[in-house]
Symmetry: C2
């Protein structure tokens, strides 16, 4: 098992990464002083891992209840938060009960937000069981639910007490979700770290084959990169927005197609191609850089073209994206492979042209 | 105008107290660098003060929208939070827009919670227009909505950037609400400050007559007492719970009678009588102390007896109150007039006896 730390003063926490660690009681024990825990998971993950996590918590000496929500993006709703709070009260959970988010990004966002607002905030652990959640959404304290007008419009910054990432759980991950997770892995490289991109170009097949050593390396590298950024900019006042490379376009794709028909990672993959085309059009990267972005994503089996939609519809959705500041949409552009920058004023004609170019 | 400060490091903020300050543009100007603001108020307060606050913000150079919610405790619902978020998105408000909570405790709790969760947190101002909100709920960053199983079960700690308390707005406050606000004023004295209780015993009629000098003094003293406690214990790990004197009983009364039929301050008044009787039964105060609690509340025109309900029903509701920790209900008891303490293990037979005694 490898461990690293997100340095956030009194909100600092460890990330543990390994194979077969999900049922290690000693990883849960430090956070159970309140004597009770509630595991929030979904109907797909619960038959696979709920009993293991439950047994670990029980053997660490706490009473535990389980709250099973529906699978999929629609669980990121207020109705589900209300249901979770209801179950917490039914189980007589209080301010010092521990919430354990067991599942992918949706469960982490939902359970994290419930932990942020239940009784004005209770402690929680992230136990991510998808690649996307292990490399990205479980780290950094962003929690959210969706609003009819946009994804993640309602949420909170609420840091977990620890993240327990067991790459053995990726054995049961559907192929499509593994690839969607690789989109976020590649994002970390493209936005922040050229050597990691080079490593991915050599090892992408090992990741697709779920080789545990390669998975631990990739999860660890992404967490290191993200932890460094989150420590410097917890509430996304600046640098942290670089982690949104591909997301301004990607969220619009998700919104336009209805949350869930494209997986988040798939939308972000097409979004990164659009962002690379935009970087090319603004002259900040060269043609072979943009081609390299496409090639790596294609090798990971990810979409490199957006959905069959007008550029206007995507532009409209981007305008309400939460990254809009003072009425303008900010874009994350590349200045090189491994180096992203924030750009506030981008001519909307270039944005439209980038969407069109990405569709070729 | 008098100003004091809540010392919370980088989350420190000023409280301004005066008569006729609600439309002072210079009090709003420091918080409008984002260029836009949304005033959240209700249908009762908006005809009285919305145009004044709107004019102040406009003359400070920002664009402003208004969101008017229904009056009353039922506005502390998720449906209303969703409506507020919808209006904020409609008005193209973003992460640097300022939310202004204009109204009483319900509007402050609701708008503060919306500010806490909209786009993972946006800045907000408290402009309280009831005595209860000026002396208590606008200070300290507690925000919340209600859940079917209990009051304030869902919320966040989200500090305002400033509190602007104009006692001239109390001129339009219904008599019953003024008295309900006095319950929280008296609570600050009983729990924390004997000299303030003595001042109240001399000046309660001046407050009932809405003499501005007396109101400014009382609001200021309560804010000083509360600011000191909040600075020492922002998230209510300990000392801050003393401010809940009367609230464990009071919340149960509100829950039992349906939120709104008893005003919060009225329930807290009867709750303080019960808490005083409990302090007497546990031997921590004398009979004349309990009588003094009743006498002051009665002079303020407040209820000193609970509703016509069985003690069992109140006990049951107290068991799910959020102050329950590890399955036990904590009580705030008096050891003297002006000195409260936290007590975790109280025999439920004594609690029942205190409820019965308060009904005499």
């Amino acid at each position: 098992m490898e461990s690293l730390r997100v340095a956030l003063g009194e909100r600092s926490y460890p990330i543990h990464i390994g194979a077969g660690i999900i049922d290690s009681a000693e990883l849960y024990a430090p956070y159970l002083s309140g004597g009770s825990a509630a595991i929030v998971t979904n109907e797909v993950v619960s038959p696979l891992y709920l009993s293991k996590v439950r047994a670990a918590i029980v053997s660490a000496g706490a009473r535990v209840s389980a709250i099973v929500v529906e699978d999929g993006e629609q669980a990121k709703s207020w109705q589900t938060v209300d249901k979770v709070c209801d179950a917490l009260l039914e189980a007589r959970c209080g301010r010092d009960s521990l919430i354990v988010a067991l599942g992918g990004g949706v469960v982490g966002d939902l359970a994290g937000f419930a932990a942020a607002v239940f009784q004005r905030g209770v402690p929680f652990l992230q136990v991510p069981t998808t690649l996307l959640a292990q490399v990205d959404s479980s780290v950094g304290g962003k929690t959210a639910i969706n609003h009819a007008r946009g994804k993640n419009m309602i949420g909170a910054f609420h840091q977990p007490l620890a993240v327990i990432s067991d790459v053995a759980t990726l054995d049961t991950l559907p192929e499509r979700e593994l690839r969607a997770g690789l989109a976020e892995v590649i994002k970390h490289g493209l936005a922040l770290d050229l050597p990691f991109v080079e490593w991915l170009e050599k090892n992408i097949e090992k990741l697709l084959a779920r080789e545990r050593g390669a998975l631990v390396y990739a999860v660890r590298r992404c967490c290191e990169l993200k932890a460094r950024i989150v420590a410097a900019d917890e509430r996304e006042a600046g640098e942290r927005a670089l982690l949104n490379f591909g997301h301004t376009f990607g969220h619009a794709i998700e919104g336009a197609t209805g949350y869930g028909s494209w997986l988040h990672g798939e939308a972000i993959s097409a979004g990164m191609v659009m962002a690379a085309e935009l970087s090319l059009l603004t002259g900040s990267i060269r043609k072979d850089d943009a081609a390299r972005v496409r090639a790596l994503l294609a090798r990971a089996g990810l979409p490199v073209k957006g959905p069959a939609l007008s550029a206007e519809r995507l532009l409209e959705l981007m305008a309400v994206d939460k990254k809009a500041a003072k009425g303008r949409t900010r874009f994350v552009l590349l200045t090189a492979i491994g180096r992203a920058v924030l750009q506030a004023d981008v001519d909307s004609r270039l944005v439209r042209a980038a969407i069109v170019a990405a569709a070729q």
